[in-house]
Amino acid sequence: MVSPETQPDAWSSWQELTSARIALGRAGGSLPTREWLTFSLAHARARDAVHIELDSQRLSDEMQSLGWETIVVASQAHDRTEMLQRPDRGRKLRPDDAIRLQQLASTATPRPSDGYTFDLAILVADGLSAVAAQGHAVGLLKNLLPPFQDRGWRISPIVIAHQGRVALQDEVGSCLNARLILSLIGERPGLGSPDSLGAYFVYEPRPGRNDAQRNCVSNIRPDGLPLPAAADTLIYLLTASQTRRLSGVELKDDRVLLEENTNPMKSMDSPSEKDGSHS
């Protein structure tokens, strides 16, 4: 119901053309009450997504009920605030957790042919949205893991990390002696997308890998890139990575014929524009 005090915009039918917040109407020249509250709700959800802690117990229980082993670790950032302010600490494991992962790897015998303990390690981390990891990681893995299990890939127990950034995968994968590591991590929440999950993987993980050596599948959520489609892409890319023994800029999703440099950035933080995501 439009308030009698709102001057509506005649072009509300154009809202079908874009999800941008157009034709909001106005009070004088200012935002109508209803629109202000709608915006506030979206921002509140995004803020909550950043600050809510990952419920690793619940996530772990859910995974174990599916027959998956799990291990819960934490980065050197002690809380959400520290992780936001000190991304460097979110990229390193606490020393005792690093030892636990190394011990876990040492209980299995490395494959003699290549020396790796695991073909694929899996890391689920809160990143910038615990809501995303909590909500979509299990669903994505349900779609993703079976083909690799069928092929006899050795998959690590699922590592669940608190206060983790993307590059935490370097140390986790290295401790586990894994050939490949895939992280499912909460992305920086957008106003309409508090639950967006990112998937990053790197071949031969070890500390010091840079972002050009990683592959990323972004915006995984029911209203963005749906979970089954994301799983298909990742299955393709991970298989190609294992075959070609590399990851990063040289590994592309060749199933797409059009060559497009998707470039959701503006300024300063990368060669192109406006990207502050830096998870």
């Binding site: 001057q7 915009d9 005649a10 072009w11 154009w14 809202q15 053309l17 874009t18 999800s19 941008a20 917040r21 157009i22 034709a23 909001l24 106005r26 004088g28 020249g29 200012s30 935002l31 629109e35 915006f39 506030s40 979206a42 921002h43 995004a46 803020r47 997504a49 950043v50 936001l84 302010q85 000190r86 991304p87 460097d88 910038l128 920086r188 929440p189 957008g190 106003l191 309409g192 997308s193 508090p194 060559e259 497009e260 440099n261 998707t262 470039n263 959701p264 950035m265 503006k266 300024s267 300063m268 933080d269 990368s270 060669p271 192109s272 524009e273 406006k274 502050g276 995501s277 830096h278």
Partner: protein
């Protein structure tokens, strides 16, 4: 490298070189702490400021904070310095310079006459001794006017970049946002699209959408697709309708290299764009974006604080007499600017330093959802920048950029600022808005119907993408 000292009570504080002194004197921000260059205590910060106040402006000509041998931005700063323009302030210390800037006698004309004599490091240094109100007051005394198809930066005016981004560059989606913005009297700085896909065909397609709209309705404004400069150069070679060349720039050669640019690339692009002569009343053809933290993010900060490096990016910008320069202040995230207070301070510093150096500064007043900031913080910042005479701000539908996933200022926000501070659009654009029936003579928005010819443009003028 000179040693700088300040004696506070029984403690002597020592700072090695101007770089360390500037970093330690900077207001607290997370990026400098992340880089390990910030003051370790509040007292050390004030000690650094105390020492900085006694540094002579001419000392900055003696010591480059980044070695010119390895950094072309340092060489540019040295080569571009104008000794004649510097004469008036040559004898001043940084502390005296702050007072000189605040004096009644230091008028906009005086400030314009010394701009070429000020280096980025001098501007950054004095800004570190200034409170927010000083930054607003002196910023408001600096007037920088630029022209292409309209006049931007005149006193009493506020322009808006209309930013109609769409996650898949859908032409009708973008057009809907543009028309929405025009009906809210926005778009006089530029109608500027950040493309989701940075390539030649896409950029060309978007440029044609914009030039059709501008030509059909005789809109006294300019367009820009904010692709990488090398993409825009290819597009210009193919004779697509390029008004402005955009590029993100930073304050060190190494950071610029990580952006895929150098001064020689920018030189070439500037030359190409000027030769197109598409401006009707002026030929300021460049559009730059900057932002504190970009050098650190690129691991190219050389131990210098992020605000000083930001000011050095303005040395790059002013070489090209740009139409528009804006800092994208809160986009980079909380590891560089943690909260609303840090974002506010940074944006006022950036506006001040840019204007003092002679740039037509605007600001993308913005934040991300992982920063500790909200719309109230942006309102404070918007209001203070309005008082500081910012040339332009962003206009994003509902403040929500659905492609870049951050919050900037909305069309409604720009109207708030124009109302409260009695600011008007660029004069040519204002005339057009009144003539076409979007705004009345008093600056109030008029209701626009679907029969309006702009609305018809969307229905008839654009084929489905």
């Amino acid at each position: 490298m000179r040693i700088w000292r300040s004696h506070l009570g029984s403690t002597t504080w020592v700072f090695e070189g101007l770089g360390e002194l500037l970093a330690k004197a900077t207001a607290r921000r997370s990026g400098d702490e992340l880089a390990g260059v910030a003051a370790r205590s509040e007292e050390e910060r004030v000690a650094a400021r105390t020492a900085l106040a006694d540094v002579r402006l001419s000392d900055f000509l003696e010591e480059s904070i980044i070695d010119p041998e390895i950094d072309e931005v340092s060489r540019l700063i040295i080569d571009a310095h104008d000794p004649a323009a510097f004469d008036l302030i040559r004898s001043l210390t940084v502390g005296e310079f702050r007072e000189w800037l605040l004096k009644y006698e230091t008028t906009p004309q005086v400030l314009a006459s010394i701009a070429a004599g000020i280096t980025p490091e001098m501007a950054a240094a004095v800004s570190k001794l200034m409170r927010n109100q000083d930054l607003v007051l002196v910023g408001s005394k600096c007037q920088v006017v630029t022209k292409f198809r309209n006049t931007i930066g005149l006193p009493g005016r506020l322009s808006v970049r209309l930013q109609p981004n769409h996650p898949t560059d859908d032409l009708r989606g973008i057009a809907a946002s543009i028309l929405d913005g025009l009906c809210y009297a926005c778009g006089d700085a530029v109608i500027g699209i950040n493309p989701a896909t940075d390539n030649v065909p896409r950029t060309t397609e978007l440029l044609k959408l914009l030039s059709d709209l501008i030509e059909t309705h005789d809109i006294p404004t300019q367009s820009c697709v904010l692709a990488h400069v090398t993409t825009t150069m290819q597009v210009m070679e193919q004779r697509a309708p390029v008004d402005l060349v955009f590029q993100s720039i930073a304050g060190t050669e190494q950071a610029n290299r990580s952006f895929g640019i150098s001064l020689s690339i920018l030189d070439e692009a500037w030359q190409m764009a000027r030769e197109l002569r598409r401006g009707t009343i002026g030929n300021n053809v460049m559009y730059f974006e900057t932002g504190q933290g970009s050098c650190l993010s690129a691991s190219a900060h050389h131990g210098i604080d992020q605000q000083t490096l930001e000011a050095r990016a303005y040395a790059v910008a002013r070489r090209y007499q740009p139409l528009l320069v804006n800092t994208v202040v809160g986009f980079i995230g909380p590891e560089y600017l943690f909260n609303g207070k840090q974002i506010l301070r940074a944006s006022l510093e950036d506006h001040f330093c840019g204007k003092l150096l002679g740039l037509p500064m605007g600001c993308d007043i913005c934040y991300t959802n992982h920063a500790d900031a909200d719309q109230d913080d942006m309102d404070g910042l918007l209001s203070m920048l309005g008082m500081a005479g910012v040339n332009y701000i962003m206009g994003v539908p509902g403040a929500d950029d659905i492609m870049l996933n951050y919050q900037s200022t909305s069309f409604h926000d720009s109207h708030y600022l124009r109302q409260t501070l009695k600011l008007r659009p660029a004069p040519e654009f204002e005339r057009w808005l009144i003539d076409i029936g979007i705004m009345d003579e008093s600056g109030r928005l008029a209701p626009v119907t679907l029969q309006h010819r702009l609305a018809q443009h969307l229905r008839l003028g654009i084929s489905p993408a």
